[in-house]
Amino acid sequence: MQLWLIPLFPFAGFLVNGFFGRRMSKLAVSLVACGSVLLSFLWVLKTIAALGAPEAAYLEHYYSWIQSGALNIGVDFAVDRLTEVMLLVVTGVGFLIHIYAVGYMAHEGGYYRFFAYFNLFMFFMLILVLGANFLLLFVGWEGVGLCSYLLIGFYFLEKFATDAGNKAFIVNRIGDFGFSLAVFLIALHFGSLDFGRVFSLVKDMPVEARPGWITAICLLLLVGAAGKSAQIPLYVWLPDAMAGPTPVSALIHAATMVTAGVYMITRSAQLYLHSPFALNIVAIIGVATAFLAASIGLVQNDIKKVFAYSTVSQLGYMFLALGCGAFSAGIFHLMTHAFFKALLFLGAGSVIHALSGEQDLRNMGGLAKKIPITCATLFCAGVAIAGVPPFSGFHSKDAILGAAFEYSPWMYWLGVVTAFMTAFYVFRALFLCFFGSYRGHHHPHESPLVMWAPLAVLAALSLGGGYINVPKFLEPMFPLAAESGDDWTVYVSVAAGLGGIALAYLFYVAAPSVPEALAGSLHGLYRLIYNKYFVDELYEEVVVRPVVDGSRTLLWRGADASLIDGAVNGIGRLARGIGGILKFAQNGYIRDYAGWVVLGSIAVVIYMAFHGGAR
């Protein structure tokens, strides 16, 4: 099947653009970048056409990567139904965003560099979903993190951009710390890192077996997933990551990379099924993140920041689904989210593009007539994310909330409140952007075809994507839970979404003075939320500063320079001191030497007199 061709195309694109891009025309760079992803997408289609819907994973072994002791880690790719969904999302949405970026980046410096990184990202992302063992997954995992770092810091002249890049990489490294410990434990207990081997061993365990080490593995994997997928407590990097160009936010920080954690946990579902405790933690973290991030999203003024917190929140939904054991619902939402969130970001990019870089919602307004296509597509995304039936978000969110209700009603209710907030903040942003009168001073212009065509495709997918029945497709891997008979849970969540839209309309179109007054009267709460609960400040004070200051004063100046080197130099001085005393005995004067001989003789005589020596 030549699965290796799928990641190879973008890698070749990376090499060409990376090495020769500087001397190539922009057209050639874009052709290489988009063409390679298109080829990869076509190869995915061909693969899926040939494999159909496989019951078991189709595996290709290429070579042995690391072999030591009993451990043999191969470079193997595998495709099963889960991988097929991921491949389609990654290459399909990825291709659309590549096309869009051709227009968006047209006037930016470092054009070839951008597309080289973009292709490299596709390469690593495809390794991530194709890899057939944990270590290969980790290669893709860290590789996409690298590309994320490079693209967040794409405008490397700006300190905030490179700061954000560092933050993303380092916070992810904290997550990877957990991931790698999980990998070590898996290798210790299973003697292998191959998915096939590990999961078949887990399957052979008795259903009721709940060993503590599996819980440990699952919780450590969750740490990794929380880093990559921006969950509590490691979500802080994602909002800052918006410093990168908007197509990056759409591709990496909305549609694909940040969902890697969801994919990884789904992939390890067999392990999690033996640890209800870990699953419960996944659900709690998911629902808490969904709620917290949505609340922050309510008051942000930067259009990209609103959508960034929305991404964190929606990822929380996916984690909630996984935690409830509804793995296929999580993947379903992963797909629909890829459609509508990519669209939201690309649409936001189109707005920003139209306003020559303006991102503040307060300086927008009344753009519906000036950029009608962008406006229409963004509203498609809006109704999708708000869970309005029959659009895509409704189907996947419904699947998640249904599972949550079965699992634990309070999680369902928290999810419903989050759905309400989601609808509110998205439509707040859309109304502020497109309704009312224009508050800025640029001359808005509609984006070119190369940008709005992908928007249109994604709009169609956002509206109709809910009818791609992912849970049914994944059923052989993840059996569907029995449908609950209660229809009212669906009505409540739909009502929450519509209510959110209505309230946003009331606040930002019908009576625009209300939000100001509300912010004024709830000043303390508003300030707390607006400043994102001061979590960044907390981390800075509790983690970063103590580590840096402690290293400088205690370890470097204290232990290293004073203590250890002090001791070393002290020994040196001591040796010199002793030598300095002894050198008086070696002064070269015969007279002194004779004196020493006399003294010595006297000493010997005295000694012998007292001890009666020569008997």
């Binding site: 990567w65 690391i66 451990l71 890049g165 990489f169 210790l188």
Partner: protein, 506 residues
């Protein structure tokens, strides 16, 4: 005379030749000679290419001194193979990076470099304890002069500190070697090892521990293992680029090589019982080195402290006493040689442009020098263990091996992986990103052809060693299996072996 003898003595011949030929041609001669050594040394892979020989290849065993019986006994195995090649690869690279950097006493500089190569190869191939000690000390001399003559302002302090620190350790080792000779009647490593393995030579636990410690301290200083590391930052900061490269890439490996070659197989019980506290020191070094690297204002010091951290992984791997730990340790020795060597080369390039090692003097280098920045980035990524580059493989195997020994070791050591990202990326941000200051924009230019040539082989190796480990691991694996085998035998087993022989003697 074997190929190995040729590889060993060509640098010595080069040393003599460089002293004789005129000054103006010494640079070119050094480059040609060191490249010649490298090409010849590639032949050493031969036996491992076609088969996987057990034991030593290319052995020569001849009388050097009659009484006491000191032999010129050299040989190559899976452990020394890549270390010799690392030495012969980095010597021509060191010549190339010194091309413009060294502008006075040029002839002596390259002569010392060749002498250093001779000593280093000797350390890795000697199979006679006394011969080993001689090579060990030979290495000190050229490095002392490389730092002391061609170094920066505080070069004398650094050189003396380097010399005394390592001498202090090696004196202990010499005493232990002489003790071993008195007991075994020979200096021959292979003979002594077989005596210990068969139980003919056995020590009471206290004595074995003392002997182990005598070797261990000497090697630990060289590694350097926390808290014996404070000579390293000074030596690196003051050394010229080539000195730093050879010091970090190859000389530090003398210590870890010694641990694997001598400490573990000769004194297995002492080594095993010391494992907990050695691992504790290694893990402390990993975290401590990383934290101190984080706050260094000087680039070379930062890289030096990062070496303390990286070498901690090597020691941890060795003292995990697992196949993966040992394989990872040896792989990590090579990885560190390549990626840290490359870092020192690149810092040297920056110094040649801006004449400062302070990070604050840079900022915005990416704008005037995109290629230099790209190469520096790849090296940074290798150094922080990005999967698909070389260091990841070593770190992974070390941590996996340590996890089999004690999972808590791995949990703490893996913190070093987070911290390495912190200090390297922060360095990279401060030096390369942002707007170029006037000084940077004015002085910093992109890589020249000579500089490309010196760095590209290392970059290629980073990728190769990260993706196709099977090209390198099999000889290492086989040799480590043997080391573990001799370290696995418990003392009781050796005493049992002794009995039939005693009966036979009667």
């Amino acid at each position: 005379m074997t190929l190995l003898d040729a590889v060993l003595f060509l640098p010595l011949i080069g040393f003599a030749a460089l002293l004789l030929i005129p000054k103006q041609s010494s640079r070119g001669a050094a480059l040609i000679l060191s490249l010649l050594v490298f090409i010849v040394s590639l032949g050493l892979i031969g036996p491992y290419w076609f088969a996987n020989p057990s034991g030593y290849v290319f052995t020569t065993d001849a009388v050097w001194i009659n009484s006491p019986p000191i032999r010129y006994h050299v040989g190559l195995d899976g452990l020394s193979l890549w270390l010799v090649l690392l030495t012969t690869l980095l010597t021509p690279i060191s010549v190339a990076v010194s091309w413009k950097y060294i502008d006075h006493r040029v002839k002596e500089f390259y002569a010392f470099l060749m002498l250093l190569e001779f000593g280093l190869i000797g350390v890795f191939v000697a199979l006679d304890l006394f011969l080993f000690y001689v090579f060990w000390e030979i290495c000190l001399v050229p490095m002392y002069f490389l730092i002391g003559i061609w170094g920066h302002e505080r070069r004398i302090y650094a050189a003396v500190k380097f010399f005394l620190y390592t001498m202090a350790g090696s004196v202990l080792m010499l005493a232990a070697i002489i003790y071993l000779y008195n007991r075994a009647g020979t200096f021959d490593y292979v003979a002594i090892l077989s005596q210990i393995e068969t139980g003919r030579l056995a020590f009471p636990p206290r004595v074995e521990m003392l002997l182990f410690l005598a070797f261990f301290v000497s090697f630990a200083i060289k590694v350097p293992l926390f808290p014996l590391h404070t000579w390293l930052p000074d030596a690196h900061v003051e050394a010229p680029t080539a000195g730093s490269v050879m010091l970090a890439s190859v000389m530090l490996k003398m210590g870890t090589y010694g641990l694997l070659r001598y400490c573990v197989p000769l004194f297995p019980d002492a080594a095993r019982s010391s494992a907990p506290w050695v691992a504790a020191l290694a893990i402390t070094g990993i975290i401590y080195g990383a934290l101190v690297a984080l706050v260094q204002p000087n680039m070379k010091k930062l890289v030096a402290y990062s070496s303390v951290s990286h070498l901690g992984f090597v020691v941890l791997g060795i003292f995990s006493f697992t196949q993966q730990g040992l394989d990872g340790a040896v792989y990590q020795m090579l990885n560190h040689g390549i990626s840290t060597g490359a870092l020192f080369i690149l810092v040297g390039y920056l110094y040649e442009r801006r004449h400062s090692l302070e990070i604050a003097a840079y900022g915005g280098v990416a704008t005037p020098a995109p290629n230099l920045s790209a190469v520096f980035l790849i090296t940074t990524l290798a150094s922080i263990g990005l999967p698909s580059l070389n260091n990841f493989v070593g770190e992974y195997l070390v941590l996996q091996g340590a996890a089999a020994a004690h999972f808590t070791w791995t949990a703490f050591a893996a913190l070093g992986v987070i911290l390495s990202a912190c200090y390297m990326l922060w360095l990279y941000q401060r030096a390369f990103f942002g707007k170029a200051s006037e000084g940077v924009a004015h002085h910093v230019y992109d890589l020249t052809g000579r500089e490309w040539a010196a760095i590209v082989p290392l970059i290629a190796l980073m990728v190769w060693m990260g993706t196709f480990t099977q090209s390198f691991l099999p000889p290492i694996r086989a040799q480590n299996a043997r080391i573990l085998e001799s370290a696995r035998r418990l003392k009781t087993e050796r005493v049992q072996n002794l009995v039939p022989e005693a009966i036979r003697a009667r």
